[in-house]
């Protein structure tokens, strides 16, 4: 495919068509002019002035240049005003459009594999197209394969894809779809189509005005017939102009789609990905949009249902042939059949759960607050494979976090402020807020202290179960800090912890996560060693004892939880349970020494820890935090821990 040539042709065509569109609007104005002026002339002739009717319309117009100007201005002004009114309605940024169509924002650091891939693909395409990374949305309620771009400048653009696209497209196909949308952003199609929509609306307003005039004539008795005729003429002209405008708008839109397909190939250099995405989308069928407002953005979609004349998108065969000239109708049909069979096979293993399940989960997270029910096998299984439930969990956590605490992937300053606010205010163990804020002000300036203060309310009222997710979602933004900034930030966090004097589990976890997550150099040593569990029995005892004590209500229960966990690791010789005073340094040393365990031993260790946690059937915030810290130090990846109730599917 000669994508530069194809782009040039599409650009030229749509420029011509835009002129045609302008001409169409002008023609409507002129014809209306003639109609209104004729009406005026006749009414003048029959009125008091008694002007002779012999002169032709042109001659009459020459005699009354002021009237002609005034009428033209009024008609033009009317269409213009209606168009402007509609355009201001469409003026909202892309994010607004996406949200109003039911889009859920995808953040850079999302834990869901599909959404992470989507965000990566969008960032890649932003690079290829040379535009800023737009906001990314998923339309959770749309099952078909589709996508759209919205917003009228690259700076406030948003890209949204349907859930169906996320689930059914392979990476390079998704890339093709996203690249197509980027072309709409880059080529200013949003602005163009906004103008066209505005003008089409202006023409429609003419038709509506004509109809109103007709209805008005029915009420007024006198001189009803001329007004009726005038109204009919205006309505007819407006309607014809409207259809012509719609027709041209659709034609322009089809040219912009060709342009977008060609640009998508320029960005991805992979026509096959886009071709397969088109076929796959067609094979899945044109599901009607669950959200009817979706029709509003029809011209910005990736694929649209077609009615021949007013189709906003070229026919499938034409688009596929532009990408791959060897394809004919028969081949296309067989490709569609194959794709359909492929999709049916996938249906037997549905990936996504019903998103309706997210809301209750989010509410549960927000309300329950102190602890969630947990079963050992679930936590342990989590350490291996994230299941569909986890995908929903990531979304649910975002729903549950108050807006003030949701970090944005672009703003590392805000992420720092939020992290500091969480440290200072989220843990009720800390009471010396003023002194800590003073430290922030001294180290990072008054502006930062102010931002921290700003988030204080939200952080203080955060349910304890959400502290950790709130911290974790800030990391992608924090990783954009340069090494020197990272170092300063870590030092600031550590100083804040010292300022308070009390050292909570949350502090400990935060410190571990930050020092590991923002490490400037990759750990020079091997993350996993060769030792077996027996070699590190003492250290295991320490870790289990600390975890058991933080999860249990009393000493007896703690001892039972301890035994429940460690017995599976060390069936014969194991250290007895003992309460460790000033746990942090001992625990820290023990963890460091456990790093030398084999990876399989670590897996067993996490299973054992899960048993200890689940001994009383509840996962408390300190338990979740300690487990996260342990996994961070041992370099074992751990997906979010799921509450038991929502994940029956995991238990066979």
């Amino acid at each position: 495919m000669d994508f530069f040539g194809a782009q040039a042709r599409a650009r030229q065509q749509s420029r011509l068509l835009s002129w045609g569109f302008g001409g169409c609007v002008l023609a409507v104005v002129m014809v209306l002019d003639i109609v209104v002026l004729s009406a005026l002339r006749i009414s003048n002739a029959v009125g008091e002035h008694r002007e002779p009717l012999e002169a032709s319309l042109t001659q009459w117009a020459m005699l009354h240049p002021g009237t002609v100007m005034l009428v033209s201005l009024l008609i033009g002004g009317f269409i213009g005003a209606a168009s402007l009114w509609r355009m201001t309605q469409l003026r909202e940024g892309g994010g607004y459009v996406a949200r109003s169509l039911g889009g859920v924002r995808v953040e850079r650091g999302t834990l869901d594999a599909h959404r992470r891939m989507l965000h990566n693909v969008v960032e890649e395409m932003a690079l290829a197209a040379g535009v800023p990374v737009p906001e990314v949305y998923v339309l959770e309620n749309e099952e078909g394969i589709n996508a759209f771009a919205a917003g009228h400048t690259p700076a406030n653009a948003a890209v949204a894809v349907t859930r169906g696209a996320l689930q059914n497209l392979k990476r390079e196909q998704l890339q093709g779809v996203v690249a197509h949308e980027f072309s709409h952003i880059l080529n200013g199609d949003m602005r163009l189509s906004m103008r066209l929509m505005g003008l089409v609306f202006g023409l429609m307003a003419v038709a509506v005005a004509g109809r109103t005039l007709m209805r008005f004539s029915a009420h007024g008795r006198r001189s009803a017939v001329p007004v009726l005729m005038l109204g009919f003429a205006v309505a007819a002209i407006g309607q014809i102009g409207f259809w012509a405008g719609r027709f041209l708008q659709a034609w322009i839109s089809r040219q912009r789609e060709c342009l977008a397909d060609a640009s998508a190939v320029q960005f991805t250099r992979n026509p096959d990905g886009l071709r397969d995405a088109l076929i796959r989308a067609a094979a899945l069928g044109h599901k009607r949009f669950a959200n009817t407002a979706m029709e509003e953005v029809a011209h910005m979609l990736f694929l649209a249902g077609s009615t021949q004349w007013f189709a906003t998108h070229p026919p499938l065969l034409e688009r596929v042939r532009a990408l791959d000239p060897h394809v004919n109708q028969a081949q296309l049909d067989s490709m569609l059949r194959r794709s359909r069979a492929d999709l049916e096979r996938r249906d037997e293993f549905p990936m996504g759960e019903d998103t309706a399940a997210q809301r209750p989960l989010a509410n549960m997270l927000a309300m329950q607050g102190t602890a969630v029910p947990a079963a050992a096998q679930l936590i342990a299984a989590s350490a291996g494979e994230p299941r569909p439930g986890h995908l929903d969990y990531a979304v649910a956590v975002r729903h549950a976090l108050p807006a003030g605490l949701r970090g944005s992937a672009e703003d590392s300053g805000q992420a720092q402020a939020l992290m500091l606010a969480l440290l200072v205010f989220a843990d009720p163990a800390h009471q010396h807020h003023e002194r800590q804020l003073a430290v922030v002000a001294a180290k990072s300036g008054a502006a930062m202290a102010h931002r921290v203060q700003h988030a204080a309310q939200a952080a203080a009222s955060l349910s304890p179960m959400l502290r950790l997710p709130a911290v974790l979602q800030l990391f992608p933004a924090l990783r954009t800090l340069v090494p020197a900034e990272r170092l300063l930030f870590i030092q600031l966090l550590q100083e804040l912890m010292r300022t308070d004097g009390r050292f909570s589990v949350f502090d400990y976890t935060l410190e571990k996560l930050v020092t590991r997550g923002l490490a400037i150099q990759a750990a020079p040593r091997e993350p996993h060693g060769t030792l077996s569990l027996e070699d590190r029995a003492t250290q295991l005892g320490v870790v289990f004892a600390v975890l058991a004590r933080h999860g249990a209500r009393d000493a007896v229960q703690a001892r039972q939880a301890y035994e429940a966990g460690i017995a599976t690791l060390l069936p014969r010789n194991r250290p007895a349970y003992s309460v460790i005073d000033n746990w942090a340094p001992t625990f820290d040393r023990a963890l460091d020494e456990l790093c030398a365990l084999q990876i399989l031993a670590k897996q067993l260790l996490i299973e054992g820890l899960a048993r200890t946690i689940a001994h009383d059937g509840m996962l408390t915030p300190p338990e979740a935090e300690l487990l996260r810290a342990i996994c961070a130090v041992l370099e074992c990846p751990l997906p979010p821990l799921l509450p038991d109730a929502t994940d029956g599917a995991g238990q066979e």
Binding site: L127, A128, F267, E385, P386, P527, H528, E635
Partner: protein
């Protein structure tokens, strides 16, 4: 009267020239920014690779050599980038960097091929994440280069067409050069052994 017409013509010409000049400057800044993007993406890749390889290490115990090759290639490419940063004009540094870069791409390509050979592993969620991040990193570097080349093409086009070429030569708009990937390294297929 004639004077006025000439004056008007001159003003139109000057305005026209200013327009061309501004377009050329925009195009030049466009490809310069695209070059900065490559730098950003390369650095990002160097930062990311050690972490990803560390994650992969737990799963690919028998592929120690492949992983070590990746790390070694990463280190030499990183050194190359540093040398390049110290002496941006040096042709030797540029050659060293592009060689090291190609080596890194090749090493990563072999890692992907190795991962293909373990279907179970590929299905593991963590490994899927690692491979997604690696794929994305590689794509970013490739797309940043491609965007740079596209920007260079459009700059050179607008520099060379008439009458822009006049303005370009008066104001010394140098032709820009595209980045090329060393063909030998790029074409080399990844080696997979099923011994």
């Amino acid at each position: 009267m004639a004077l006025l017409i000439i004056l008007a013509l001159v003003i139109v010409l000057v305005l026209f020239g200013i327009g061309i000049y501004n377009r050329l400057v925009t195009a030049r800044n466009g490809f310069k920014n695209a070059f900065a993007q490559i730098d950003v993406q390369l650095t990002r890749r160097y930062d990311l690779i050690p972490n990803l390889v560390e994650t992969a290490r737990g799963y690919l115990k028998h592929e120690r050599e492949t992983l070590e090759n990746v790390i070694a290639a990463r280190n030499s490419a990183f050194a190359g980038l540093k040398a390049m940063a110290q002496d941006p004009g040096s042709a030797a540094a540029a050659a060293q960097l592009s060689g090291a870069e190609a080596g890194l791409s090749g090493a990563l390509g072999r890692l992907f091929a190795v991962m293909e050979a373990y279907p179970d592993l590929k299905a593991s969620a963590n490994m899927m994440q690692v491979s997604e991040e690696l794929t994305s990193t590689e794509n970013r570097v490739a797309f940043a280069r491609q965007a740079f080349n596209d920007a260079v093409l459009s700059y050179n086009n607008s520099r060379e067409v008439f009458p822009n070429s006049l303005v370009a030569s008066w104001f010394n708009f140098e032709p820009a050069k595209m980045l090329e990937t060393p063909p030998a390294e790029k074409r080399e297929p990844p080696k997979v052994s099923f011994a």
